[in-house]
Symmetry: C2
Subunit: 327 residues, 2 copies
């Protein structure tokens, strides 16, 4: 911004400040498709979204620049996809069908308008993978970029798949990737841009969206989104269900890019696989003998006892997972 | 925070950093009541909220410290009430019944934990006025305090009251206060703490919650929440309905505290009343001859023509309202 003679400020051409609040809203809203679930889209005091089940699943996340994403590591499109994905994955982890997102964007006045529209394109792209869309939002000024995402979903008549339904004797199964985002963070954090597949995995997760509904239809008794690390999130399931989750690392595939990067960085790949977050795999439990739905692999069992996670029979000594206030 | 010998940092006692993410979540979640609408509350990947109508009303706002509130002007409890109120008012402005809030909190590690719990108490208090509650959220670290609020509501079988239903010949009516928050901002901005009623009106709005459903049941054809200033928000209604909103200032009461403060500050009270935001009054239109529901006063009429707002027959020359990217 340049200070002008009259004491007001002129915003840089192409910035969100120059576009203004309402110009910015118009520019991003045009990015969002409509779907049969959108009964009233952006532009009113509130949106109206179909909730045919008579219940609505709702979850919210806040992403802060420098903590959850870096503009020099990820494009706006990638940040948009990631912001949408982590909330869509939470809805999917309840066994629900995501319907709609609401977005709050805090932006500095000098943020390029193209960044904001790129973000919108990323949000729209990720939503479209699931037939969802963005139905509303808010744009305000802030010193750093802040993105608030709320996702809504419909249970289609099914019971929600909570964390508390696991019982001793059941099978612990996993769908999706583990360790990729953590390995990608290690790559980017060391100043590298490759292996590209790992850096990209940090930028945009690849949650096993289809596996959520498959688990709900396939008899899962509990499920959660692995966002903070397998051991930590398994601990949440163990605590909520009051069971022991016993993981068998021999049954957890460590993908080749993880093995290779760990060798290059002299790191333990299992630390990324068991402790790394942000891949948004799905961890679920199934009664013994249940054929596992497509995408799920058995990686352990539920046993009785004080809530705990065991890795190959013992508490895990590695980093436990993510605390947003820890250093 | 103090740097420790082992390279980690120690958080100040009583700070959210010392409490940690999960300790903080536990501390605030205990503040939130349950209601019959809460089918699954905080603690899982997502909440499940009743949506008996089969549609859900949803709106979101982002509040940034230093722009939307100041910790030296408002208590955490007041910030919580305000954050809830402005979202609840948006749901009410659709003619819906608010059911649930989701909250994203970005907080510096040195934020006193008592501030976070005070915020939660304020959110809970304001929700309780309407039988709503907080069902979920997210806590992350950020340099300044950021609060993301999403509100959900149920239409109870009624059509949503949008901005686009006004027709020429109808009555324009207002429920709630105007100019109070703007006058309060002027008071606080000049370093005063009184008149207390005005400073308090800036800290916590007093939306006419009951008038929303009354308007919906009483035949309103359009309605919106006046958050950015009467003239600006009337302009949104005019644009969406493709009508002229003609306001008659002789019918808009200017409350005595506003008159007195304007006199003391040598200000024009009408600028606060027509241009000031944050009071969350409700502006609605009704077919001619409709008995106005409790709380509503006629302040103008809808006429045909290119979308515009007229104040006593002419465009208003005062500050038009709020652009979040303007200075």
């Amino acid at each position: 911004m340049a200070e002008r003679q009259d004491g007001t400020t002129a915003h840089a051409p192409g910035s969100v400040g120059a576009l203004g609040e309402f110009g910015l809203v118009d520019a991003v809203v045009s990015r969002f498709a409509t779907t049969p679930d959108v009964l009233l889209g952006p532009g009113d005091d509130a949106a109206v979204v179909a909730a045919p089940d008579g219940r609505v699943v709702a979850t919210t996340d806040l992403l802060v620049e420098g903590r959850h994403f870096r503009r020099d590591w990820s494009s706006a499109f990638e940040v948009g996809r990631k912001a949408a994905a982590q909330n869509l994955a939470d809805v999917v982890a309840m066994g629900a069908r995501p319907t709609a997102l609401l977005i709050g964007l805090g932006a500095p006045a000098d943020l390029p308008a193209a960044w904001a529209t790129g973000l919108a394109d990323g949000l729209a792209h990720e939503c479209a993978l699931l037939g969802a869309t963005v139905v509303g939002g808010d744009v305000v000024r802030s010193d750093t970029v802040v993105i608030a995402v709320t996702a809504l979903g419909d249970l289609e008549g099914r019971a929600p798949l909570t964390r508390s339904g696991a019982r001793a004797g059941e099978v612990v199964a996993l769908a999706g990737r583990l360790g990729w985002a953590a390995a990608g963070l290690a790559v980017l954090g060391r100043g590298f841009r490759s292996p590209r597949v790992l850096a990209d995995a940090h930028r945009v997760p690849d949650p096993p969206y289809a596996a959520g509904k498959a688990a709900a239809l396939g008899g899962a008794t509990a499920m959660l989104d692995v966002s903070d690390g397998l051991v930590q999130d398994a601990g949440h399931l163990a605590a909520a269900s009051r069971v022991v989750v016993a993981l068998d690392t021999a049954r957890i595939a460590i993908d080749q890019p993880i093995v290779d990067a760990a060798a290059a960085f002299n790191a333990d790949p299992l630390v990324w696989v068991l402790g790394g977050g942000d891949d948004h795999a799905l961890l679920a439990t199934f009664p013994p003998g249940t054929p596992l739905p497509d995408g799920f692999v058995a990686i352990g069992e539920v046993t009785a006892g004080d809530p705990a996670v065991l890795v190959d029979g013992a508490p895990w000594a590695g980093p436990a997972g993510h605390d947003h206030f820890a250093r």
